[in-house]
Every structure is written in C-alpha cells, then in structure tokens.
C-alpha cells in the first residue's frame, strides 16, 4: 500500500516538475510574439482498476486556427494598405505643405503674379526678370517633384526586391522547419515549438503576400497565394526579381519582356516552370502587392498628372490658332489651311460630314512612321477620330495621306506648297467639310501673336514642346524636362515685344499670357482622380494645378483612412488571438501555485511514507 502511495507521489512530483518546466518556458517566452502558450494535461496512470500515479501528456498549443487564418488575411490587407499609405503620404508631401511658399500651387500663383506685375510695368527690366525667375522656379519645382516621384518609384522597386528576398528567405525557412515537423510528427508526436516557428515563417510570408495555407495529413503544409499560385508544398518555389537600377517616367511594366523596363517577379517552380507573377496578377494583397501598385499605378499616375500639367503650362502659352480659309472648286466647297507652322504633335481639326455621320477628325503631325497608327488617346479630346500623318515629305505627300485616311468622299490636295485644301464631294452631296483649323506651337519668340514659348523641352533641340510623337511621346516625363526657353532667358524683352515694332510699354503680350493661364480653359488628358477618358478635365491651367494637388491629397487621405481602418481590424483580431494564444503571466503563476501545492503535498506524502517505513522497521 505504502509502496503504491510512494510511486503515485513520485509520479505527482514528476508531473509537477514537468508542469513547472513548461510554466518557466511560457514565462520566458511571454515576450515572444511568435510563441503560443503551451499547456500540459495530466492523465491518471492506472493498472487495471488500480491507480498507480499521474502522467503528463506532451505539451499542447493553445491556438484558434480559424482566427489565425482570418488574422493572416487581414494582416496581408493591412500591410498592403500600410505601405500604400506611407508612400502616398510622402507623395502628397511633394506638393508642399498647404499654404507654404514652396507648395506647387503657391509657385504657380507666384508665376502668374509676376506676369500680372509685368502687365502693370511692361517696360521694367525688374518685372521681366521676375517673370523669368518665377518661371524658372516653377519649372524647377515641377522637375523636382517629377524626380522625387521617380525616386519614390525606385524605392518601391528596391522595396519589391527586398520583399522578394524576404519572401524567398521565409519560404526556405518554412521548408526546413516543415521537414523537421514531418520528421517529428511520426508516432503521435507534437513538435509544438517547431509549429510555432513554422507559423512565424508563414506569418512573415502573409505580411508580404496574401496566402492560403493547407495542412496536410502528415502535419506538413502547402502555401498558395490567394490567387492560387503554389508557393510551397514540400519544396519551396524560388521567386526572382530583375530589379532595375534606375527608373524614368518612360519605365513601364509590360507583359512583353522586350518592352518591359521595370522589374517583374518570376516564379521558378521546382519543376523548372517559370511564370511572370505580375502578368498573372498573382499578388492581390500584402506588402508586395502594395509596392507593385505604387510602382505601376499610383506613382505613374502622379507622374502623368504632372506631365499633363507641365504640358498644359507650356502649350497654353505657346499655342497659336491657324484658321482655315473657305474655298471652293467648282461645286466642291471646303477649306484651305496653311500648314507651314505645323510642328510635330500639332493637330489640324476637321469637322466633316461623311454620309449621315458628322464627326471631328484630329490630324496629328507624326513624322516618325514607327509611331503610326496613333492611339485614339493621342489627343485629350474624347470625341475625335485621331489620324497621324507624316509631314516629312511636304504638304502634297501629307495631303495624299490624309486623302487616303478620309476616303473617296473627300478631296484633299495641296494646290500650293505649305497649304492643304480639304474639299467635299460637291454635287453628290455625300459629304461636307464644315470647318478646318489648326492649333500650332509657336516656336519663335517674335511671332505675330501673343503666343510665346516661355517653357520648352530642355531635353530637345530646339527646346520646343509640341507634344510630338517622334520616337516616343514627348508628353511622357515632360515634367522632368520642362524648363524656361533658353533663348527667352537670353532675351527677356520678348516677354513684351511681339515684333520689333512693339513698344516697350505695350502690355498686350503679358496680359494675353496671363489670360491664357488663368482664363482660357483647355482639355487635359484624363488620369486617375482627374476626369475620365470620355470626359477629360477641362480647366484653366490655374485651376488644373489646384485640382491636381487636391486629387493627390485626396488619394493620400483615402489611403491613410483605409490603412487606419485596416489597422483597427488587425488590432481587434490580434487582441482576440492574443487572448487565446499568448502567455498570461497571472494564469501561469496561478498554475505555478497549484503545482507548488501538488509538489509540496506529494513531497509530504513521500516523507510520511518514509516515516511510516522507519517506524515499521525500528520496532
């Protein structure tokens, strides 16, 4: 009897010690976020009906797996929202603090203010100098913002590279832990600490990519992206990112590797299969998806808006309208148009009736045949048919090309070099030419009108911006190259003097330039947040800059709200998860007291049995 009591007590001692060991482990890891609380269950040891002691089972993890899965999904959403919010906040900051003199809108206002000053004192060299210096400051600010946008893009590119490296790392870690788990899981083993480590690796992956985790029979896991791409199943895939060292506004993602000028993530499966993950749209949430959306969507959109602004600023000042002259040829009526001043990128606008349909045709000068045909989005105007025509071969060749494009209901020719004549079909009356005009880019400082190329494309020679399509769209990245026309900087008097006959105190040109910026509305190309392709923003340059800054602020605010909302969700889930999975010191201490008492009691029993045995033996 006493022997049985002794063995029971000893097993109690052993169980208590094991329990205390686990408590010590729990307490020691109370600070480790990847650690889940472990517990032991005591099981009665019995031989038949006879209880011979107590035995501890192996440690169990305290874990709500459903909550864990939800938490992982939300963490992926959270890190997506967070990385976007962080970058968009920085993007927004590029436009300057509200009300500061260094804000983009304030610099634009300073420029128009200088023009107003020049209109008041056209003869003053100080006023002319001020216009040029404000124009210079504005152009440099636009260059600066554009460069910063590209720098942010480069950061996202590097961020993607870094994230992909971390992802590969985590996948490797997952793989090695998973192998150990498989090895230790045989025979009902439960390698709780390895499971914790594996969860930590998966959590790391979940922050980067939105994943789905399936647990296999042998306790191993398979990890897929939510879009269904396998990342790990016994063998990890390897992700490769061909990071670029520098990005320009012309660097874009394309599914065609030959055209693509930014990095993409290639998945190399163990069987050698390679997949472009970005082309597959494999990343929907997580840090990588956030960075990709910033690199390929948010930041290029900001660049496009800035390019549109820069182009509007340059062209609103340099645009000159050329009117068509009504003309007839027998019964045929139409217009003839002087095209000598047409620069590459400038457009002739035709209003025609062809059969029953009236339509507007924009004939854009494109001398580079590789750029043809032009996309319909080449002009901001949504309702026009865009035709790119080369004028490199002179007006006769261009007229012939237009003739081909317009069809047999029209007659297009060039009776005099430099002039193109658009005629309807005359008597059959199947067509009409209702109007013909052109907007050309003034390239000369003198000119005959108020139009003045104050800003130009410093990257080109001559430094003229006309929105051309020679080799590439001049609009793309123009914000990076816009600058004050160097010949104007050398001769500021041209801000006032249209021709040599203009008097130095004539305010005509400064007033007209000011009106072009603040009063004349023009169409800007649609970008996210500013109009849509079917309804592009129509605004003055002055109001466009405000709308652009407001739109960026709005996007940053929305991103911030989303991120904050997501953080609340993640925090809530984390709290609930922690309540079940994390170590609670009080609980551990209470258990410690329990175990201590059990230990003391068991020890007491042993010493009592000892006394009883001694008494028995001494008598």
């Amino acid at each position: 009897m006493s022997v049985s009591a002794l063995s029971s007590a000893i097993s109690g001692l052993r169980a208590s010690q094991a329990g205390m060991g686990l408590i010590a482990q729990n307490v020691a890891n109370a600070d480790n976020p990847n650690y889940t609380r472990k517990s032991l269950e005591s099981r009665t040891q019995a031989i038949g009906e006879r209880v011979v002691g107590v035995r501890s089972t192996t440690a169990q993890r305290s874990l709500d797996t459903l909550l864990q899965r939800t938490l992982r999904t939300e963490v992926a959403g959270g890190s997506y929202a967070d990385v976007r919010a962080r970058y968009m906040d920085r993007l927004d900051a590029l436009y300057g603090p509200p009300g500061s003199g260094s804000a983009l809108d304030a610099m634009f206002s300073a420029f128009t203010g200088a023009l107003q000053g020049l209109a008041t004192s056209p003869e003053s060299p100080t006023a002319r100098g001020r216009v040029l210096s404000e124009a210079n400051i504005l152009a440099q600010r636009i260059n600066g913002i554009s460069e910063d946008i590209q720098a942010l893009r480069l950061e996202t590119e590097q961020g993607i590279g870094d994230a992909v490296a971390r992802l590969n790392d985590a996948l490797q870690r997952l793989s090695s832990i998973d192998r150990q788990i498989i090895a230790n899981s045989g025979g009902g083993g439960n390698p709780v600490n390895l499971l914790d480590q594996r969860d930590a690796a998966i959590n790391e992956i979940a922050r980067l990519v939105d994943v789905r985790v399936d647990v296999n029979q042998d306790n191993s896991v398979a990890v897929f992206t939510r879009s269904g791409m396998l990342l790990y199943d016994r063998m990890p895939v390897v992700l490769e990112f061909d990071q670029r060292a520098s990005l320009t506004p012309n660097s874009v993602y394309d599914t065609n590797a030959a055209v693509r000028s930014v990095g993409t993530i290639m998945l190399r499966a163990p069987n050698g299969l390679a997949v472009d993950m970005l082309a597959q749209g494999a990343f929907r949430a997580g840090e990588i998806a956030g960075l990709v959306s910033l690199r390929d969507d948010v930041l290029p959109n900001a660049q496009r808006q800035l390019d549109e602004f820069a182009a509007g600023l340059a062209r609103s000042l340099s645009d000159r309208a050329v009117a068509g002259t009504a003309t007839t040829l027998g019964a045929q009526a139409g217009f003839s148009l002087d095209v000598t001043a047409l620069q590459p990128g400038d457009a002739i606008t035709l209003t025609i009736r062809d059969g029953a349909t009236a339509r507007t045709v924009s004939i854009v000068r494109v001398d580079d045949p590789t750029m043809l045909p032009l996309p319909q989005t080449a002009t901001a105007r949504p309702d026009d048919q865009v035709i790119g025509i080369s004028f490199a071969g002179g007006s006769a060749a261009a007229a012939a090309a237009i003739q081909t494009a317009l069809g047999a209901n029209f007659q297009v020719d060039s009776p005099v070099a430099g002039t193109i004549r658009f005629l309807d079909d005359g008597a059959p009356n199947l067509s009409d030419v209702t109007a013909a005009s052109a907007i050309v880019t003034e390239t000369s400082l003198a000119g005959t009108t108020a139009a003045l190329p104050i800003f130009g494309d410093i990257g080109r020679s001559p430094p003229i911006y006309s929105g051309s399509f020679e080799g590439r769209s001049q609009l793309v990245g123009f914000a990076q190259r816009i600058g004050v026309n160097p010949s104007l900087a050398a001769d500021p008097s041209r801000l006032v003097l249209i021709g040599n006959a203009t008097a130095v105190g004539d305010p005509t040109r400064p007033n007209a330039l000011l009106d072009r910026l603040t009063k004349s509305t023009r169409l800007f190309g649609a970008t996210d947040g500013l109009g849509s392709p079917s309804a592009p923003p129509s605004a003055t340059v002055a109001s466009f800059v405000q709308r652009m800054v407001a739109s960026q602020g709005q996007q940053a605010e929305t991103a911030k709200r989303l991120s904050e909302g997501q953080e609340v969700v993640v925090n809530g889930l984390q709290t609930r998860f922690d309540a079940s999975a994390r170590v609670n010191i009080d609980e551990e201490m209470a258990r410690l007291i329990e175990l201590q008492q059990t230990f003391q009691a068991s020890a007491r029993i042993i010493s009592t049995v000892d006394e009883m045995m001694r008494a028995l033996l001494q008598t």
Binding site: A30, D31, N32, P33, M88, D89, D92, P97, P98, G99, A103, D105, A106, F108, S109, A110, T112, G113, Q116, G117, A119, T120, S121, P122, E123, S124, T502, A503, V504, G505, D506, P507, T508, N511, L514, A542, Q546, R547, V549, A550, Q552, G553, Q554, A556, E557, K560, N571, Q574, T575, D578, A579, R582, V583, N584, I585, D586, E587, M589, L592, I593
Partner: protein
C-alpha cells in the same frame, strides 16, 4: 485587459503610443496654429484651401498692381492739373494785348509762355519709377523733345520758329497781299482777286457794301474775284466790304469807307470823277489789305502753322510748305520728318491712348490709363504756348500792335477752347480709373478678410479647442499610464514569496 502579457507589443501600449502621437500632433498644431502639415491631412478643406490660396495670391498681385497704379495716377492727376493751371495762367496774362517788348521783339507774356512750355515739357517727360507716363506704349521714351529743339530745330531739321516763318511767308505772298491780287483792268474798275495759292493766304468769302455810282460784283470764279466799277463819284460815307477767310478758320472783314477829306485808316478819298476815285480806291485797298495781312493773317497763319507742326502721329507728319513759300500752292506730301523736328517722340499709334496701358485689377476688371502727349487736349496747350513763345515781333512795324493783340487773343481763345478733348476731360477719365481702383481695392480687402476667415476655418485651429483637447488627452493618457503601470504591477509574481 485581464493582464498585460508582453507589454511592448500589446494593443494597450499601441493605444498609448497612438495617444502620445496625437498629443504631439496637437502640440504642433498649437505651436503652428495650423491644422495640417500636408494636403492629405486637410481632408474636406483641401479644395477650399487651395482655391482660397490661389485667390489670395491673385488678390495680392492685384493689390501690388493697384498700389503701383495709384502712384502713377496720382502723378498723372498732378501733372494734368498743373497743365490745366498753366493754360489758365497764360490765358489770364494774355488778357493784356498791348505790345510792350522786354527785349525788343517779345513781351513778358511771351517770355512767360516759354517758361511754361519748358515746365510742361518737363511734366510730359517725367519718369515715374522708370516709366514715362505720357508716351503711350513706349514708356521708355521721352514724350517730347526739349523746348529748345522744339522751337529752334536741330539742323538739318527745322523747328517751330522755322515752320512758322515759312508758313507766314506762304500766307503773305510775294507782295505781302496775302496771296490776293489787286488789278485795274479799266480806269474805273478795281478788282481784288484770289490767286492760285492753294491753302495759303486770304480767301474771299463775300462782298458787299452801300455805295452809289459804283457796282460791286462778286464773281464766284474760281478764281473768286470782287470787282468795283465806279460810274461816278460815290457819296461820302459809302462803304465797300469784303469778307476774307483766314487759314485758321477765322475770318476778317476788309472795309473801306469813302471820305471827302484826307483818308485815314480804312478810308479812301473821293476823287473828282470815277477814274480818280477808282485810283484812290485802289491805293486804299492795297494799304488795307497789307494792314490786314500783318495784323490778322499772319497771327492766324502762325496758329495754323503751329497746328500743322504739332498734329503728328505715326502716320501724320509735320506739315510743311512745298516749294518756294511765297508762291507755294500746297504742302509737302513727302516724309517731312527728315526735314522737320517731330516734337512727339513716343508711341503715336492710331488706337485710343487709354488702350496703351491696360491692366487687370480684378478677376474681371481691367483699366486703361495710358496717355499720349499728342492727344488733342494736351497737344492744344503745348501748341499754343509754343506758338506764342516762338513769334518775334518787329517793333518798327506800324501794324505790330494789331498783330500782337491778334496773336495774343487767338492764343487766349484757343487755350480756352472747349470743343474737342480738353485736359479736364482727360482728368475726369483718370478720376474714373482712380475710382475703379478704389472700389477694386475695397472688394479685395473684403475678399481678403473673407478668404482669410475661410482659410482660418479650414487650415487653422482654435487654440481653445486644441488646449481643451490636449487637456482631455492628457487626462486619458495619464489614466492609461497609471492603469498600465498598476496592471503591470498587479501580477501574481509580485505577491509570490
């Protein structure tokens, strides 16, 4: 929160960190007085803020313009006021028509006119902050040449004096009869004929009189000719009158009265028969025409010469006589700027002078305040002063008194001429501009305060509100700190021995 578990990663601590961040943000708001440091943080106030900022910048640019314009306009008003006063002073002095030369050829009034001419040229050429206000668009150029060049010319270019002398010669004619001819085709017939003189000299516009034994015939011509045929001896007191138009648009009447005694001025002696009377009449007619030429025609000629000299712009050149003046019949159609000083040296376009300086002072308000010194109102004053100052009289000429008085009165009349544009009219136009400036400024002041309030609402923070929120946050934060500290101490660990 049952217990804290790992403190640094618990949600509770994150809340405290968030509160701490909020406190820092509020502190920054209190320090800067601004709600947000980025457009994102401005929230719904973003567009109103951007808009208000742009408007404020515009208003400030307009404000600078208005300040500059106010200076310019006050100078313009002062100058125009002075020019008007100059004209008034000269008019007052010219009431006295007695020729009393101070240096043998000019009176004190003429000397004063020269002083005033110089003062006026100074006013027209003055520079306000690098800008000539009376030069139209050519704000960097003096409006006029100096008084000396204007009067005396700058070889090879003739000045006003030369132009006046030339014109006087053309109007006088070879024999000093004002381009008229006196003939006696028969012994009893005396005719006064216009000659082929183009625009120069006297033009006969009518004839009449009360005379017996003679007939007055007015042949319209051309050339127009008045003939008096004596058939006998007219009665004493009979008169013959011929109305003569002068180049400046005024006219004078030649009147000869028959007298039985010794004829005085404007009288002819009755003879014994028709022939002797005709001879006497002819002599008297010649004397009278010559008297009128010196006394009336030459002053008129001087005025019209000055008009021709001063009426210039980009397409109208100084008017000069073509050929030998005494026999000339027309003006030089060529580019007389090569031979004549052009007094107005600035912008002489054909468009309205006000349009030469047009400035926007509000979103939809522009004002035109340009001036040209060759505008009629200003030109008329300078032309009359210059003409008066340019003429030298010959004190030995018997008709000098008449001539001087005539010129002096003509100058006086023309300085007071209210037909056409006057200096006062220009001043009134400038007053309208000044009022526009003032009302624009008032609007700007109102808008500025309105926009300022709006910005204050959108971008600013109320110190009271922030202070209250800081207090509230402080209380919450302190409570959180305390409970956190308490909770972290309230662990069983503390109580185990």
């Amino acid at each position: 929160m049952s217990s804290l578990g790992p403190l640094r990663s618990s949600v509770g601590i994150r809340e405290i960190i968030a509160m701490r961040g909020e406190l820092d943000r509020l502190q920054l708001q209190l320090a800067t007085g601004r709600r947000a440091e980025s457009f994102a943080d401005l929230g719904g106030g973003r567009s109103p803020s951007l808009n208000a900022r742009a408007k404020l910048a515009d208003i400030s640019a307009y404000g600078q313009t208005i300040d500059q314009l106010e200076v310019r306009l006050s100078v313009i008003q002062a100058s125009l006021g002075r020019i008007d006063k100059i004209a008034g002073e000269q008019r007052g002095e010219n009431l006295s028509t007695h020729f009393l030369p101070v240096d043998n050829s000019q009176t004190a009034q003429q000397k004063a006119a020269f002083q005033r001419l110089q003062e006026m040229i100074g006013l027209l050429n003055q520079d306000v902050d690098g800008r000539k206000l009376f030069s139209g668009r050519r704000t960097d150029t003096d409006a006029t040449v100096s008084a000396d060049i204007l009067l005396n010319g700058s070889p090879p270019r003739a000045g006003l004096r030369d132009v006046i002398v030339e014109r006087n010669r053309a109007d006088r004619g070879v024999d000093g009869l004002g381009r008229l001819a006196i003939t006696t085709p028969t012994a009893t017939r005396v005719t006064l004929d216009e000659t082929a003189s183009g625009p120069f000299g006297f033009k006969i516009t009518g004839a009449g009189g009360t005379i017996d034994n003679a007939t007055i015939t007015d042949a319209i011509g051309p050339p127009r000719s008045v003939a008096v045929d004596f058939t006998g001896v007219p009665s004493a007191g009979s008169t013959v009158r011929v109305t003569l138009a002068m180049p400046d648009g005024t006219s004078t009447t030649l009147s000869l009265r028959a007298t039985a005694g010794t004829p005085g001025s404007s009288e002819f002696a009755l003879g014994t028969d028709a022939t002797t009377t005709a001879t006497n009449f002819r002599t008297a007619l010649q004397t009278e025409v010559q008297r009128l030429v010196t006394g009336e025609l030459v002053p008129a000629s001087t005025m019209v010469a000055a008009d021709g000299f001063f009426t210039v712009d980009d397409t109208t050149f100084p008017r000069r006589v073509l050929g030998v003046p005494e026999t000339a019949t027309g003006f030089d159609p060529g580019d007389t700027r090569l031979t004549t000083v052009v007094w107005y040296t600035a912008d002489g376009g054909a468009d309205p002078a006000r349009a030469t300086s047009v400035t926007r002072i509000d979103t939809s308000v522009t004002v035109g305040y340009g001036l040209r010194a060759n505008e009629q109102g200003i030109r008329s004053v300078i032309a009359n002063l210059a003409a008066f100052a340019a003429v030298d009289f010959n004190p030995t000429d018997p008709n000098v008194q008449l001539s001087y008085a005539s010129l002096s009165l003509k100058v006086r009349d023309r300085l007071g001429d209210k037909s056409g544009q006057t200096v006062t009219a220009i001043q009134s136009e400038m007053v309208v501009v000044q009022q526009s400036l003032k009302s624009a400024e008032e609007r700007h002041t109102a808008s500025r305060s309105l926009l300022g309030n709006l910005l204050e609402d959108v971008e600013g923070v109320s110190k009271e509100e922030v202070a209250t929120r800081i207090l509230e946050l402080q209380t919450r934060l302190q409570a959180s700190y305390q409970t956190t500290a308490m909770l972290s101490r309230m662990s069983l660990v503390e109580f185990l021995r």
